[in-house]
């Protein structure tokens, strides 16, 4: 029995529909070729020429392979790790053979050499991608994730408790509901940050959160929700939206003297999920209410851990409104 809690690293076939994976494979192969050129050509001036010569031969095969793998990504995802790797090597070999044939340099000896080189290169790239995944795997990133996990502001907790106390005598039912909302919010906050959750659950969570803020701030907070096109079955890391909404209210509504309009829009565009959270832009007072960018960087990093380079998080100020936009791949949650 293991004495320490161990998380077996889930091995999954590299996802070639992910831009990050494809880019890494592309760079790795070209670097490899450059090293080979450096090794074989003692003269610096000839190195580049040698590299270009070699590139002309392997580049078509490489690009064809990546294209095929991109197309095959949905099937590859369903395979086990080793059978997936075998299939990837097979695809690369097929592409290498085909391009060799098309380029008209078809001799049996040449072909064998090409295939051995292609197989070895593919194996190297796969090994590199495996190492990379491990380095960023949820198990190893756990500590980092927990440190990154959104923490609710104490300011919010104490003010909410105070608001509930004020309700207990005048409106006990609403006080009960608010405590239930608070409990649910904290259950989510204390849950495992490594999990992917359904968008529907995350939406329910931010609606509860908004209800508590509404109680505190009354008419100063005017929420609008545009969720009709939201893909409720999409998977996303837990607690990505709540800190953003918390920021919107903390920085955009609380410091203002008037009514603060906050908009949440979630929609699916093709195979992307797009989130927009918008609030009034308040000039940050000197020193006070800092730390917004830390929260944004934190969420961006968490998105990266799950979606690699396929996730985007951008913030901007436009016509007096502060906007945060998230763009992540649409994946159905299991």
């Amino acid at each position: 029995m293991p004495s320490i809690r161990q998380n077996p690293i889930p091995e999954s076939v590299p996802d070639f529909s992910n831009l990050g994976v494809t880019a890494r494979a592309l760079v790795a192969v070209n670097l490899l070729a450059l090293f080979v050129a450096l090794l074989t050509e003692p003269d610096w001036s000839n190195t580049l020429a040698a590299f270009v010569m070699k590139a002309a031969l392997f580049e078509p095969a490489l690009l064809a392979s990546l294209t095929m793998l991109y197309a095959a990504a949905p099937w590859l995802r369903r395979l086990g790790y080793w059978s997936g790797c075998a299939l990837i090597i097979a695809v690369v070999l097929a592409c290498a053979t085909a391009t060799q044939f098309v380029l008209g340099q078809f001799s049996a000896a040449d072909l064998v050499r090409t295939l051995v080189l292609a197989a070895a290169t593919t194996a190297l790239v796969l090994a590199y991608l495996r190492l990379h995944t491990r380095a960023h795997s949820p198990a190893l990133a756990e500590a980092r994730l927990q440190a990154l996990q959104a923490r609710i502001r104490p300011h919010f907790l104490f003010n909410s408790l105070n608001a509930v106390l004020a309700l207990i005598r005048s409106d006990p039912r609403r006080a009960e509901r608010t405590l239930e909302d608070l409990a649910e919010l904290f259950r989510a906050l204390m849950s495992d940050g490594r999990n992917l959750v359904r968008l529907a659950d995350e939406i329910a969570l931010i609606e509860r959160y908004a209800a508590i803020e509404q109680l505190r701030l009354g008419e100063r907070l005017r929420m609008s929700w545009d969720l009709d096109q939201a893909p409720v079955d999409a998977a996303l890391p837990a607690l990505v939206l709540q800190p953003l909404l918390e920021n919107a209210i903390y920085h955009g509504v609380e410091p203002g003297t008037g009514i603060g309009d906050v908009l949440v829009r979630i929609e699916r565009r093709d195979d992307r999920v797009q989130v927009l959270i918008e609030n009034p832009w308040c000039e940050p007072a000197s020193g006070a209410r800092a730390g917004n960018h830390m929260a944004l960087d934190n969420i961006r990093e968490r998105l990266m851990l799950f979606f690699d380079d396929e996730a985007r998080l951008e913030s901007s100020v436009e016509r007096g409104r502060y906007r945060v936009q998230i763009d992540i791949p649409y994946r159905r949650s299991a």
Binding site: R153, P154, H155, L157, F158, N159, L161, N162, A163, L165, A166, L167, R169, S170, L215, R216, L217, G218, R220, E254, P255, G256, T257, A285, S286, G287, A288
Partner: protein, 257 residues
């Protein structure tokens, strides 16, 4: 005065104000109070508190418009300034400052016993001296100047002030809209707002942002030639003293050499 302690409540959250009122009625047997006013914003407190005859102000420090500590500093100018008890949900820096400077404060959620104790204490000690509030502000610059007019306070946003001119006992604040008199030494203003105002003359500070340029004025028969500041928004020009000119030259990138 009758036995009831007159209290003013300032908090931007309605439930928080309701809670304080509940607690005040809970401690009625121990300490009789009456709420003479409540506000959801600091600027409203400045406007309404002076007429309310409040003896104690329960003041949330995180309110829109103006910070709690700065608000308390301006209230000091009132003839019958109330004692202030700060209320905060969670602000470690503020709490540290309160502790260091012996200012009364309560943490949300507030307990009835603590509220009663704080009210009694503040009644005994009266309003906190301005210096302690200034120290609690940690040397941070204010966002408003306050002008005390009889028993009334007018706030002038620091950002609207174009220049300040010392005349005898007073300093005149000049904004686009008009003029105000304040009783503060120019030297301390210069120190507090070093980033915003620059000295052009022994008796005059000018907002850096308002400087449009400098103009050379040929001296008359009994006058030496000198420089003048041309300001954004007002026609008035201000003489630059010979002593200040060398430091002023660098204020504008396009200023004459």
């Amino acid at each position: 005065m009758s036995g009831e302690l007159r209290i003013y409540i300032a908090d931007d959250e309605a439930p928080a104000r309701a809670r304080l009122k509940e607690l005040l009625s809970d401690i009625r047997d121990e300490l009789a109070t009456t709420v003479v006013g409540e506000s959801a914003s600091g600027l409203e407190v400045i406007e309404r508190l002076p007429g309310s005859a409040a003896q104690v102000l329960l003041l949330d420090i995180q309110m829109p418009g103006i910070g709690g500590i700065e608000l308390a500093r301006h209230l000091c100018a009132l003839e019958d300034a109330p004692a202030v008890i700060f209320v905060t949900a969670h602000d470690r820096h503020a709490v540290e400052a309160f502790e260091l400077n012996a200012l009364d404060y309560l943490m949300k959620p507030v307990r009835a016993e603590r509220l009663a104790a704080a009210l009694k204490k503040s009644l005994a000690s009266g309003p906190a001296p301005r210096e302690r509030l200034e120290r609690a502000a940690g040397g941070g610059a204010r966002e408003f100047f306050s002008v005390a007019e009889r028993n009334r306070i007018v706030l002038v946003p620091v950002s609207e002030v174009l220049f300040l001119k010392a005349e005898l006992k007073y300093v005149t604040l000049r904004t686009k809209a008009g003029e105000h008199l304040i009783e503060e030494p120019l030297v301390s203003i210069e120190r507090e707002f070093a980033a915003r105002f620059v000295r052009v003359h022994r008796n005059c500070l000018v907002a850096r942002a308002a400087i449009r340029g400098f103009e050379r004025v040929a001296g008359g028969s009994d006058e030496e030639p000198h420089w003048e500041v041309v300001l954004e928004g007002v026609a008035e020009r201000l003489p630059v003293s010979r002593r200040q000119w060398p430091t002023l030259k660098g204020v504008l990138p396009e200023s004459p050499g």
